[in-house]
C-alpha cells in the first residue's frame, strides 16, 4: 500500500466519522433544542433558570455527553476539512495538530462541566 492510498484510507474514515457523528447529532441535538423550546411550556428565558438548566444536565447527563463528543468531533473534523481545502499546507499536520489541540480543550471543558454538575 503506498503512502497516498494510506492517507486516502484515513480520510475516508474521517468522512465516515463525520457522517456517524452527524446522524447522532440530528437526534440528540433536536432533543437538546426541544428542552429550550415552547414545547416545554416555558418561556425561553425561564429555560435558562439555574435549577432547570442544572437539573437537565444531571438528568440527561449521558445524552449531553453524547451531544458533546459528537458535536466537538464533527465540528473539529469539519474545521480541519475547511482549513485543509483553503490553506493547502505542505503537510496536513500543520492544520491537524492545532485543530486536535482545540478538540482536546473543548472536550476537557465539556467533560469538566458534566463532572462538576
Amino acid at each position: 500500500m503506498t503512502s497516498n492510498s494510506e492517507s486516502l484510507f484515513k480520510e475516508s474514515w474521517m468522512m465516515i466519522l463525520m457522517y456517524a457523528t452527524a446522524i447522532i447529532l440530528i437526534f440528540t441535538l433536536t432533543f437538546h433544542i426541544l428542552l429550550h423550546s415552547p414545547l416545554t411550556g416555558k418561556a425561553f428565558e425561564a429555560t435558562l433558570n439555574f435549577s432547570y438548566a442544572r437539573a437537565n444536565l444531571i438528568y440527561y447527563r449521558l445524552l449531553f455527553a453524547l451531544v458533546l463528543y459528537a458535536a466537538v468531533i464533527h465540528g473539529m473534523s469539519g474545521l480541519r476539512a475547511v482549513l485543509l481545502e483553503w490553506m493547502h499546507p505542505r503537510r496536513s499536520w500543520i492544520v491537524t495538530f492545532p485543530v486536535a489541540v482545540l478538540l482536546a480543550l473543548l472536550l476537557a471543558v465539556g467533560t469538566l462541566t458534566l463532572i462538576l454538575v
Binding site: L25, I26, A43, E45, G75, V82, L106, G110, T113, L116
Partner: protein, 152 residues
Amino acid sequence: MKTSQRYRSGLISSLNPRHFNNERWSYTIHRITGAVLVFYLTAHLYETLQIGLGQRSWESALSLLHKLGPLENVGLWIVVGSVLYHGGNGIRLIINEAFGMILGKPTLPVYPYAPTSLGRNQKLAMLTINLVAMLLWIWAGLYLLAGLGLMK
C-alpha cells in the same frame, strides 16, 4: 497570461456568486453555517461550564450576555437558523454521498456540461430543505424574539 495569473483570475471568478449554481450555493451556505456553529459551540461550552461552577457563576455569565440586549436573542436566532440549514443540508449530503441516492445516472460529458447530480430529485430535496428550515426558523424567531417586545 502567466499560469499564476490565470489561477488567480480563475479563483476570483469562482468566488463570484453570479456564477454559482444551486449546489454551489448550498455548499457555500453549509460552510458558512458550519463556521458559525463551531464558533457558537466554543462559546456555548464555556457558558455551560458556569453551571458546573455554581449559581453565581451562571448568573454572572447570563448577566454578561444580557448586556448585549436584543443582540443576544438575535444571535441565538442566527444560531438556530444555522443549525436548521446545516442539519437539513447535512441529511441531503449523507443521502447523496454515503448512500449514493438522488444523484441521477451518470452520462457522457457533453457541452454545456449540465451536472446530472442537479436533477429533479436533487432540486426537490434542496427546495424541501430550504422550505422546512425557513418555516422552523420563522417559528423559532417568533419564540425567541418575543422577548424583545416585538410580540405580545
